[in-house]
C-alpha cells in the first residue's frame, strides 16, 4: 500500500471557530481543533450536545454560520472546503474522505449488490475494468470479514454487523486520508460491536487513517481514539488525550459522564 508522503508540518484538517445556530438555538459554539494525519479523535457527549452538528460541519455536509474548515489538499495547501467548486467537493468526498453513517441504510445502496457497493467509488473515479473491480471488491469483503461468496447479494440480506462492515469497505476502497464516523457501533449487539471495533482499530492503524468518530460510548473512544473532545450544549468543554480525559477529567460535565458509566 503506497501512501503519498505528506508534509506533517501542516494538519490534515483545520477547524477554526465554527458555530452553527438553528433559529435562536445555538447548536455549535466556536469549536476549533487541528487533526493530524493518522490521528483518531473521538467526539463524545450526550444527544443534543452538538456533536453531530460538528461532524456535519467539518465533513462538508452543512456549512457553519461562521468559522473556517480547511483540508490539506494533495498539493499540500490548506483549502477551505466551503469555497471549492461542487466538482472538487464531490471528488474530495469520493476519494480522500469517507463517511460511515450510524444507519447503514444511509451509507449503502440497499438494492445493489455488495460488490457494486464497494465498486461505486472506484467507478466514479473512472475504473471500468469489470475483472479488476470484482477482484478489489472480493479483497475488501475479505478484509472486513464478509464471505466473498456473498459478493452478488444485496445488503438487505445482510445482518446489521455485516452491513456496517460493508459500509466501511465501501468507504475505504479508495484509501481515503480522513474518515468521519457517526456512531458506527450503536444499535449493534455487544459481540457484534466488539468485532466491528477490533476491525476498525486494525484498519485505522494499518492504513494510517485520520478519523473523527462521534460516539456516546466512552469505551469505544477508549479503544479507538488517540484523543477526544467532550461536548455539552454545543460547546467543547474539555479536550485532550483519550486516557487523560477519561482518567483525570477536569470539567464538571466530563466528571459526571465518566462517573456515570461502568469502567469505560
Amino acid at each position: 500500500m503506497t501512501k503519498l508522503s505528506v508534509d506533517t508540518s501542516k494538519p490534515l484538517l483545520r477547524v477554526a471557530n465554527i458555530s452553527k445556530s438553528y433559529g435562536s438555538r445555538v447548536a455549535l459554539h466556536e469549536a476549533s481543533f487541528d487533526l493530524w494525519p493518522g490521528e483518531v479523535m473521538a467526539v463524545v457527549g450526550e444527544s443534543g450536545s452538538g456533536k453531530t452538528t460538528l461532524l456535519n460541519a467539518i465533513a462538508g455536509r452543512q456549512c457553519p454560520d461562521t468559522g473556517l474548515v480547511e483540508f490539506l489538499n494533495r498539493t499540500n495547501e490548506l483549502q477551505n472546503i466551503y469555497v471549492m467548486s461542487e466538482a472538487q467537493q464531490r471528488l474530495l468526498s469520493r476519494t480522500e474522505w469517507g463517511f460511515v453513517h450510524q444507519s447503514s441504510a444511509d451509507g449503502l445502496r440497499m438494492d445493489v449488490s455488495a460488490g457494486a457497493n464497494i465498486g461505486e467509488r472506484l467507478m466514479s473515479l473512472g475504473e471500468r475494468h469489470y475483472g479488476r473491480l470484482r477482484q478489489t471488491a472480493e479483497e475488501w469483503l475479505k478484509r472486513v470479514e464478509i464471505d466473498p461468496a456473498r459478493i452478488d447479494d444485496t445488503p438487505r440480506t445482510f445482518s446489521g454487523g455485516m452491513r456496517q462492515r460493508l459500509q466501511i469497505a465501501r468507504n475505504l476502497v479508495t484509501q481515503p486520508r480522513l474518515v468521519f464516523m457517526d456512531e458506527p457501533t450503536s444499535g449493534l449487539d455487544v459481540s457484534v460491536q466488539a468485532r466491528l471495533l477490533d476491525l476498525l482499530r486494525q484498519l485505522t492503524r494499518q492504513m494510517q487513517l485520520a478519523v473523527v468518530i462521534v460516539t456516546h460510548d466512552l469505551a469505544v473512544a477508549r479503544l479507538l481514539a488517540h484523543r477526544m473532545m467532550v461536548m455539552q450544549r454545543g460547546v467543547v468543554v474539555e479536550a485532550g488525550l483519550t486516557d487523560q480525559v477519561l482518567d483525570d477529567p477536569q470539567h464538571p460535565y466530563t466528571q459526571l459522564l465518566v462517573s456515570s458509566v461502568l469502567q469505560p
Partner: protein
C-alpha cells in the same frame, strides 16, 4: 538527564463531591538519569501511582513542569505538549507497565505483546514476523504456556494477564520506563524474571522509575530511593 520534574503539584477537584479538593502531590522536584532505577517509597495513598501517571501524561499536572528527553534527543515539556506529541512520546520514549492489562477484544496474546513493535513496521511482513519472534521469546521467558499465545488474554488469570502486560510494555527498549507494581501477583520465579528484565533495561541505559509492593524486589533493582511522603502537602 532523561527526566526532570520541577515544582510539580497535583490536585484533584471533585466537582460532584461538593467541589472537594484533594492535594495529592506538592512541589515535586526530581530528576532521573540514564542507567538509574528510582524506587518510590511510602505508604499507599501517598501519591506514588499518581506521580507515575503524571510522567506518563495520563494525569495532567496542576502546576510545574515535566521535562522528558526524547529518543531523538529533543526535550518535551509534558504540561504544554499537544496530544500528538504525547502520543509520539509514548510510542518512542516512555513505556509504562500499569498494574492491570487493559484487554483488547479479539487480539491474541502474541499480538497484544508484539503490537508496540508491529506499529513501527506497518506493512513490512518480514519485520512483523521478527516482532512476533521477539514476542514469543519474551512470552517464553515469562512462562506463558504456548497453548495460550493465540488466545485473547481476556480469560487469562490475573497473574497471566500481568505477565502479558509486562511483556507488551517492555518488549520495546524505551529510553524511559515506568513500573507500577509489576510483580504484585507473580510467583517467585516470574518475579525474578522481571528483576532480570529490569536489570537488562538498566544495562542498556534506560532510566526507570518504579513502585514495588514487595520490598525485596525494590531493593534488588533500586539505584536510589525517593520517599514520596516528602511531597505530601497538608490537606
Amino acid at each position: 538527564m532523561m527526566l526532570q520534574l520541577k515544582k510539580v503539584t497535583k490536585q484533584f477537584t471533585l466537582h460532584h463531591q461538593h467541589g472537594v479538593q484533594l492535594n495529592v502531590l506538592n512541589n515535586v522536584d526530581m530528576s532521573v538519569s540514564s542507567g538509574e532505577c528510582v524506587v518510590l517509597d511510602g505508604p499507599s495513598g501517598m501519591g506514588k501511582s499518581t506521580l507515575l501517571k503524571l510522567i506518563y501524561a495520563n494525569y495532567r499536572a496542576s502546576s510545574g513542569e515535566i521535562e522528558v528527553r526524547q529518543a531523538d534527543g529533543s526535550t518535551l515539556e509534558l504540561t504544554k505538549a499537544d496530544p500528538r506529541e504525547l502520543v509520539r512520546m509514548r510510542r518512542h520514549t516512555v513505556g509504562y507497565v500499569s498494574q492491570f492489562l487493559r484487554v483488547i477484544p479479539r487480539v491474541s496474546a502474541l499480538d497484544v505483546v508484539a503490537e508496540p513493535l508491529i506499529e513501527d513496521v506497518a506493512h513490512d511482513i518480514a519485520a512483523v514476523e521478527k516482532a512476533r519472534e521477539i514476542a514469543r521469546a519474551l512470552l517464553t521467558r515469562l512462562r506463558i504456556p504456548e497453548r495460550l499465545w493465540e488466545l485473547p488474554p481476556a480469560t487469562f488469570s490475573g497473574g497471566e494477564q500481568q505477565r502479558i502486560n509486562i511483556a507488551r510494555n517492555m518488549i520495546k527498549p524505551q529510553p524511559i520506563l515506568l513500573l507500577d507494581e509489576p510483580t504484585a501477583s507473580l510467583d517467585a520465579a516470574n518475579t525474578q524474571t522481571v528483576i532480570d528484565l529490569i536489570h537488562e533495561a538498566l544495562a542498556r541505559g534506560a532510566a526507570l522509575v518504579g513502585i514495588f509492593h514487595d520490598a525485596h524486589v525494590g531493593k534488588a533493582v533500586a539505584t536510589r530511593h525517593i520517599d514520596v511522603t516528602q511531597f505530601r502537602s497538608a490537606q
